[in-house]
């Protein structure tokens, strides 16, 4: 009877089977609702809610690492959303600032080197094999552009710590990608004895990325000179351009992280005119960013957590200590106080999407190494997925730079 009725209404199957679109949409709604909930009830950044949805998905066995390797469709979402956030972040890095304040460049280098050294050596002292220890150190060099960019924008933070966390994250992402390419080269040399791959690959990826980035920056500047980017349609075109550049990067096997980041930086630094566009390129980009947090939130497995959680915790602590030492050490010289230095270190502590992308490339080329790395790396992501956004919020609060509106309300209460 029901079957006849379903046939009559031309259902494709009975009982009705919701397809992936249904589940994806439902995930989006759930993430949106939970994001709003944690924001209103707990006063936390909305992304915490998105990540929780991802974690629940993973717990139900639908995480992006459920099959042991990064799901290709979800990797696309991660790439696209990260590209937007990196482009946005790059477009705020003013190279003239680094020229005017060399100590800031010094702080950036110190922070990245200290993080690499202390994490690498620290893990070795904890009994991790050197190769694995330094691979972890390379993969955790970059701070999470997604968390830093997104939470900063959501809190409408403004001040030295907010400015510097964007600049330093952009820089340590560049160092991180370069170090990662060198790591891949070293692994190739180590395992296959292939000199050409070890040297030519990183070189190609780096130079190619710069060229594509420069082209994207040029096109964007041309587009923006003619169109008002506060207009929704123009923003969609800009979004399209970034995504086209990203697909080109993927096809040519260039760095999907470097291309948008460098394009943003080139755009910022080759033209004086201030560029203004809605954050995350408006609603369309906002959806991608939401999906990014859900996807990265789901990048954990129970097995990995059981095996790697302790080591991951040690890694994150070592990394935080390294950053805090370097940044408070350079604070006075670079024009901030010690409190702002600590706040900055805390704001740079998140790791997430960037590391996931870098890890998945190790997985692609060197599955055995990746298998050893997986427990620590996935646990690090899992631990930081919830703590990261809260850390950034806390750091900005410590620096007195978060959410002007709240400050006004608090002032009214006094």
């Amino acid at each position: 009877m029901m079957n006849d009725f379903a046939n009559f209404l031309q259902f494709s199957s009975w009982p009705p089977r919701p397809d992936w679109l249904f589940w994806a949409s439902l995930t989006m709604v759930a993430a949106g609702v939970l994001g709003e909930f944690v924001n209103r009830r707990l006063g936390l950044p909305r992304v915490v809610g998105y990540s929780v949805v991802g974690m629940v998905l993973a717990a139900l066995g639908h995480g992006i690492f459920a099959n042991g390797a990064l799901d290709a469709r979800l990797r696309l979402v991660v790439d696209l959303a990260l590209a937007l956030l990196l482009f946005e972040m790059g477009s705020r890095v003013n190279l003239r600032w680094l020229r005017n304040n060399k100590a800031l460049l010094g702080a950036s280098a110190a922070e990245a080197v200290a993080s690499f050294g202390i994490v690498g050596v620290g893990l070795m002292l904890l009994g991790v094999a050197p190769l694995i220890a330094f691979s972890c150190a390379v993969l955790t060099m970059a701070s999470s552009a997604a968390v830093v960019g997104r939470v900063g924008a959501e809190l409408r933070a403004a001040g030295q710590v907010s400015e510097r966390m964007l600049a330093l994250t952009s820089l340590n992402t560049i160092y991180g990608v370069l170090a990662h390419k060198l790591l891949l080269g070293w692994l190739a040399l180590d395992q296959k004895g292939d000199w050409l791959e070890a040297v030519a690959q990183p070189l190609y990826a780096f130079i190619g990325s710069i060229i594509v980035a420069a082209l994207l920056a040029r096109l964007t500047a041309n587009l923006m000179r003619r169109l008002d980017l506060r207009n929704e349609n123009s923003v969609l075109m800009l979004l399209g351009l970034v995504l086209v550049a990203l697909s080109v990067a993927r096809v040519l096997n260039l760095s999907t992280l470097l291309v948008p980041l460098l394009a943003g930086m080139i755009l910022r630094n080759t033209t004086e005119r201030p560029w203004v566009w809605p954050r995350h390129f408006g609603t369309a980009g906002g959806v991608l960013v939401l999906m990014l947090f859900v996807a990265v939130g789901s990048a954990w497995t129970l097995d990995a957590l059981a095996m790697g959680a302790v080591l991951a915790l040690a890694l994150l602590l070592l990394r935080l200590v390294a950053k805090a030492l370097a940044l408070t050490g350079m604070a006075r010289l670079s024009g901030i106080d010690a409190r702002q230095g600590i706040a900055l270190a805390v704001c740079l502590s998140p790791v997430s999407g960037t590391m996931l992308v870098l890890f998945s490339e190790v997985q692609l080329h060197h599955p055995q190494v990746a298998a050893t790395l997986a427990p620590v790396i996935l646990s690090t992501i899992a631990l930081m997925e919830l703590v990261g956004p809260i850390a950034v919020q806390w750091g900005l609060r410590l620096a007195g730079e978060h959410h002007p509106e709240t400050t006004v309300k608090e002032a009214a209460k006094k």
């Binding site: 003013n94 304040n101 403004a158 001040g159 005119r273 201030p274």
Partner: protein
């Protein structure tokens, strides 16, 4: 509470205070940075002082007591260069201009100083709207009675000074149609406007006693008059100027006021009378709204002419005094400015006409303040 005695100051000396905007280098919106700037400025020695202001995206600088135009310009150059150097280290921009063209005042934070907290709790949203930026010029007076006579004499030229200094055509993203929209914010305060027409310090003390008796004011600081006596320094303080976009213009305006003060003190070109204030608010409005093209009603003859015409006549009369005060370059600057663009508000409208982007206007303002070429905004 009684008023403190009027201090002794050297007649016709001057001091300049400038309130500046602190903006970010990304989209050029106002940005909290005064604490950081003051911290970095500790390593610099400047003539005068640099102090925090009501919100932490504002900073104030002042000169020491100066005797002539050249000295003001010299001191402002040293302080400006030190400030710009510090701002560069922090990726901040500094800009003149009476208002920020598109900032949203509800987002501004108040610098935590008790007096500012007090103002903020008393005036509510007005204190936020008071995120406006002015230039104050102090003129030394030989005594309190001289100060009051000078104050009422200078009042005739308040519209001229408004029209010349106007640099706030945009407020919260809109062209207000005014040359100085900043003053509209100032006029909202209950005790703004002009000082009462009293010509002796004894009479002024009587007025001040009566006002404190009403409980409305506690100190001179509660008066937001266009010109007010500052007994503490022994000066009168002209407060109607928008912060100009360059230190050259700020210095020239200060010197112009110094010349006016000398003319009024030495030549007594017109008798002071309460009735001179009859067209005062009309003239002031015309200056705010239309700049130099505004109508000026001569308080003595009732004749109507443009502010530009009246200013030309006045500049002619000031020439011997400019020679005596070594202020000729300043008056030349003012004449040049009148010929070229009138005021910074007109320049700003020209930039927006061409660039169609208020953010780009603020960027160019920052470059002009820093004394750098504006650069091509391709």
């Amino acid at each position: 509470m009684s008023l403190e005695p009027f201090a002794i100051s050297k007649p016709l000396t001057m001091g300049v205070e400038l309130e500046l905007q602190i903006v970010n280098r990304h989209d050029y919106d106002l940005m909290p940075g005064s604490k950081d700037l003051l911290r970095v400025m500790k390593g610099e020695t400047v003539p005068g002082d640099v102090t925090p202001e009501i919100t932490d995206s504002m900073i104030e600088l002042c000169t020491n007591v100066c005797t002539n135009y050249e000295q003001v310009l010299e001191q402002l150059t040293v302080t400006r260069d030190a400030l710009v150097r510090s701002a560069d280290r922090l990726n901040l921009g500094l800009s003149g201009g009476g208002t920020h063209p598109y900032q949203h005042w509800s987002k501004q934070r108040i610098f935590d100083k008790p007096r500012f907290q007090e103002i903020s709790s008393l005036y509510g949203y007005l204190s936020k709207q008071f995120t406006v930026f002015g230039q104050h010029v102090h003129i030394g007076c030989e005594g309190p009675d001289h100060a009051l006579r000078l104050l009422h004499g200078l009042s005739r030229f308040i519209p001229h000074l408004i029209a010349l200094s106007a640099s706030s055509p945009y407020v919260q993203g809109n062209d207000t149609g005014f040359h100085s929209a900043r003053l509209n914010s100032v006029f909202a305060f209950p005790l703004s406007g002009r000082a009462p027409f009293v010509l002796t310090w004894d009479d002024f003390l009587v007025f001040f006693e009566k006002m404190t008796h009403t409980g409305v004011v506690k100190s001179m600081k509660d008066f937001y008059w266009d010109i007010r006596p500052k007994p503490e320094y022994g000066t009168i303080e002209v407060r109607v100027l928008d912060t100009p976009l360059t230190i050259e213009k700020a210095s020239a305006l200060a010197a112009l006021i110094q010349c006016l003060a000398r003319w009024i003190s030495h030549d007594k070109p017109f008798a002071l009378h309460e009735d001179d204030y009859l067209p005062y608010t009309f003239n002031r409005f015309q200056a705010c709204r239309f700049g130099l093209e505004g109508t000026f009603v001569d308080p003595k003859s009732g004749e109507h002419r443009s502010l530009r015409e009246d200013l030309n006549v006045t500049l002619h009369a000031l020439e011997p005094h400019a020679v005596a005060l070594k202020a000729e370059p300043a008056l030349r600057y003012v004449r040049e400015e009148m010929r070229w663009q009138g005021n910074d508000a007109t320049w700003a409208r020209g930039v927006v006409e061409k660039e169609q982007l208020l953010n780009e206007l603020v960027r160019q303002q920052c470059e002009r303040w820093a004394g750098r070429p504006v650069g091509t905004a391709r």
